[in-house]
Each structure stands twice: as C-alpha cells, then as structure tokens.
C-alpha cells in the first residue's frame, strides 16, 4: 500500500468531498439560527423554544476575521508533527450564517501573505497520520485573488 486511507478526524462535522468539502452545521427549524458544531435537543436562541434542527452545509467561502500562527507544539490531545512545524489558525466570518468559524489554515500557505479581510475557501487537509490512516480535517485556504483591496 502506498496510500493510506483518508478518514475524517471527527465524524459528522464536514463532508469528505475532496473537490468541494463543506462544513456540516445545522439550523433551528423554528428560528433559523445556525449552529456549528451542530446543536441538538435545544435551540440556544433564548427567545426560541425550537427542538428540531435540519443539517445544513455551511458557506464554503468567507472572509478572515483574524488569524495567527502557532510556533509551539500544542499539548495532547493535539497530535503534533515531529519535528514540529508552525501552523496557522484562522477565524473566518461566514456571510450567510453570520458567524465566525475557526479552522487551521491549509498547508503551504505563507501566513506572511495573509491579511484580515482576505477571502478564503474550505479545503480538506491532513491533521495527523498513523500507520494506516490519514486523519483529515477542514482547513481554510486563501482564494485566488483573495485580497479585495489589492
């Protein structure tokens, strides 16, 4: 075997569609509030007594609200690469859902080129590997021509 099986690092949070992955949130059928990760049993809007939710794919594009690059390996349960490589995390504003969602920044993106306000899209990337599997997670990647203000 030369390729490991790609499996989601967490079940039910995103689709494994390599070409067009989507985060899977849900929406209260009563008030329309979105939740990620998915809500269950109760709507968190204080003026809504909704208890039913429909699964919805979240916007696959948004704008960077803020971002950072971690230069030290996080403690377990994070599975850090050895040797450790700095990685970036972005907080991304989704237009439709009017919410900010965190995610690691896609591998190979130079954080020095990123700015708040840049457009990013959802991609899949490897979080960590073991002997048999590549554990996959959602990541944010700047789109072509991401800079709106040049």
């Amino acid at each position: 075997m030369t390729t490991k099986e790609r499996v989601a690092a967490v079940d039910g949070w995103f689709t494994l569609d390599e070409a067009n992955p989507r985060l899977l949130g849900n929406r209260c059928t009563r008030c329309g509030s979105y939740f990620f990760p998915k809500a269950s049993a109760f709507c968190r809007n204080p003026s809504c007594d909704g208890t039913e939710f429909e699964e919805v794919p979240l916007s696959n594009r948004g704008t960077v609200w803020s971002f950072t690059t971690n230069h030290y390996a996080p403690p377990p349960p994070y599975v850090a690469a050895d040797p450790f490589e700095p990685f970036s995390v972005a907080a991304v504003q989704l237009p439709e859902e009017k919410m900010v969602v965190l995610g690691q920044v896609a591998d190979g993106v130079d954080p020095a080129t990123m700015r708040v306000g840049d457009e990013v899209e959802l991609v899949l990337g490897t979080l960590f590997e073991d002997d048999d599997h590549e554990y996959v997670v959602w990541k944010w990647k700047p789109t072509e021509g991401a800079r709106s203000d040049g």
Binding site: C48, S66, P74
Partner: protein, 397 residues
C-alpha cells in the same frame, strides 16, 4: 454606597511561583494571612467559599470543604465554585449572597492552584463531546491561539503594533518590581519583549502570562459585623458582576469553534467583555470616571489594551495612546495593574480573581507600599472565565 455592600475585613496571599507543592498548602497560608489581617480566629468564620481547581483531583473540585478540613473542621457550611478564571469572583459572590441574605455574618473565601508547566491543557481522557478537548485535538488551538486572534484583530482594526503590546509588559513589570507576592520581579525592556520567541503571531513569550502556583483569600462580613468589630471604615465590596454573554455572542471565545450565529437575531452593540464591567458599574452606581485604579486580566499584553476599552477607560482604538502617555502607569490618570498583573504573577486560575481583589483592597487602604496609587478610593477588577463567565468586582472606601 449601595444596599448590597459588604466589608472586606481581611486579605491574604501565598506568593505566586512554581513551587510544586500541594495547592491546599498555599490556600492554608493565604487563609491564615487573611484571618490574621482581619483580626479573626478560624473558629469565628461562619461560611467557607472555595474557588475550585480542576487540575488537582477531587480535593480541587470540593475546595470549600478541602480548605475547611485543612484549617480543621469546625462545622461551618461550605460552598465550592468553578467558573474557570472567574472562579474567585463567583466564590466571593456566593459568600456575599450568604451575608446579604442574613444567613451568616462573616465568611472566608479561598482560591489556590498548583499548575503544570507549559500550556494549560484539557483534562485527560478521550472526550469527543467536550469542546475544550476538541479544540486542542482538531485545531491545536491553545489559549495563546485565542489571545493571538484578538491581538491580530486589534492590529487590523486600530493599527496596534507589537511595540504597543510590549509597552504594556514594560509597565506591568515595573509595577510588580516591589510586590512581594509577585513571581516575576524584574524590569523588562521593550527590546527584550520584542526579542523573546514568538508563541502565537503576533504575541511573543513575554506578551503572554505564565501559569503559576499561588493562593489568595479574603474575609468578608456584613457591615454591621464590621462595625461591631470596630472596622466600620473597612474597604467595601460595592459590586460583583458575574454576568454571562447575551445571545448571539458574536466574538469567538475559548474554547469554542464558532461564535453564535447572528442570522436570526442581530448581535447587540455591547460585547460580552463590555457587559462584564457594565454590570459592576450598574450595581455600584459608579462609572469609569470614578475609578482610581483597575486590575484587569492581562492574559496577554494585547488583551490588557482591549480591557481598557471594555471597562470604559477610553474609546475603541484609544488604548494604545493611554499606555504610551503613561496614563495607566502608577502616577498616571488611571493606573492599571499596579500589582504587576498577570505579567508579574502568572495565572493561578482559581486564585487570580481573588488576588485582584486583594490588591485593590491594599491599594484602597493605602497599604500597597512602593506601588501605592495615591489617594485611591475606588478600584475595579475585571476578568473573564472560559465557557461564558464574567467577573468584575468594584471595591470602595
């Protein structure tokens, strides 16, 4: 002064450090110091309120009983509070409710912690339904990751620079030089901050607070009890705010993956961090202009600047100017973190909000020595615990 005032009869601490001993030992030292400061015996205490630690096993979860047992069982009822970094204020509020409800006259509040080296990590075990576990697992999002997101946002919105952040550290280091309870008592230069290793862009090692061992304790009573003991002029707790956010909370918070959605309900103009101090001001009938000093939760240098605005010391984007002008240095218009803050203490989670109260009490008594804010009469503490815990205490004399 309002109807909800209680008296601060005594305060005490165990010095912050990385001592590696059991947290109960620190709590005991702080409790005895606060009792001695109050001129009371342990047997006089009618209620014990503990601020919990979740890193020290079962005794940490039942801290009220743990400290009561350590001091020697004497029958007083206990409570134990956990509200992350806000635990101390929540424990103080539990004691205040007992006093104002007429259920007791005098109470002891204690928080103590022993912390591991390095990043604060989630509690052990495979816990796929705990956001605090999942954020480490799926994002590698440490606490400094979140601090850095706020700092980067501040740079983008207001043009703040790493040099601005470094100035906060320089100020706090200078404040803490003469504080016997501080862990770090060493002057720091802007260059040293800027040359320290990057932890999470744009924050460097000296921008971020360490984790520490330490303990703080407060003895509080009804005003009548204080008067009977000849302590009618004692510093008072004029307000305790332990507010939670209002939906939708539009600012990303530890340990969450996402904010609330504002799709169905628009976010209001007041952020959670704004609401924390506003709750205290409303209760005390005071405002930012009444403050003589503030102790704010400088988990990072950049976050201290955010707090200036959140507690109303200045408008959005004006915090950098305050620190540049020396307004928040001792001797300035509104000194912030005269204790040296978390920059000099490091964080001992359940003790920290109480340590803020101790510092303000010393300041208002005029007993803060070389770091005294002259003529201080009103001081505010502010802090935030993850999972939506606000913490702000106003003390006055």
């Amino acid at each position: 002064m309002g109807d909800h005032d209680i008296a601060v009869l005594g305060v005490g601490m165990h010095p912050w450090g990385k001592w590696g001993r059991n947290f109960v030992e620190y709590g005991l030292v702080a409790a005895r110091a606060a009792l001695e400061d109050a001129g009371l015996e342990w047997g006089d205490i009618q209620f014990v309120s503990g601020a919990d630690t979740i890193r020290n096993g079962y005794p940490g979860f039942v801290s009220g009983a743990t400290f009561a047992q350590a001091l020697g069982w004497q029958g007083a009822p206990v409570a134990s509070s956990y509200a992350a970094c806000a635990s101390g204020a929540t424990a103080l509020n539990a004691a205040r409710a007992q006093i104002l409800g007429g259920l007791c006259d005098v109470a002891l509040v204690v928080g103590a912690d022993t912390t591991p080296k390095g990043f604060l990590a989630p509690t052990a075990g495979e816990r796929g339904d705990d956001p605090d576990w999942l954020r480490f697992r799926l994002l590698g999002a440490t606490n400094p990751t979140y601090f850095a997101l706020y700092a980067c946002r501040r740079m983008e919105l207001f043009g703040a620079t790493p040099a601005d952040f470094a100035k906060v550290k320089v100020k706090n280091a200078a404040h803490g030089l003469a504080n016997p309870n501080a862990r770090y008592r060493k002057a720091v230069t802007e260059d040293e901050v800027m040359a320290s290793p990057v932890v999470a862009e744009p924050l460097r090692l000296l921008d971020i607070c360490a984790t520490s061992d330490g303990a703080a304790a407060v003895v509080v009573s009804s005003l009548e009890y204080a008067q009977r003991r000849g302590a009618g002029g004692a510093v008072r707790v004029a307000a305790i705010s332990t507010v939670t956010p209002s939906y939708p909370n539009a600012v990303i918070e530890m340990p969450d993956f996402a904010t609330d959605s504002a799709a169905a309900v628009a976010a209001g103009p007041v952020t959670f961090r704004d609401a924390i101090a506003q709750g205290a001001y409303a209760e005390a009938g005071l405002g930012p202009d009444d403050l003589d000093l503030a102790e704010v939760y400088d988990l990072s240098t950049a976050l201290e600047l955010d707090w200036y605005e959140n507690i109303g010391l200045c408008g959005p984007g004006e915090a950098e100017k305050l620190v540049h002008d020396g307004a928040t240095t001792i001797g300035g218009r509104i000194p912030v973190n005269p204790s040296g803050g978390l920059a000099c203490f490091g964080e001992a989670v359940p003790a920290q909000a109480l340590a803020q109260v101790c510092e303000v009490a010393w300041q208002l008594r005029g007993a803060a020595g070389e770091r005294q804010v002259e003529g201080a009469r009103v001081g505010l503490t502010v802090n935030q615990g993850l999972f939506g815990h606000g913490s702000s205490v106003i003390l006055a004399r």
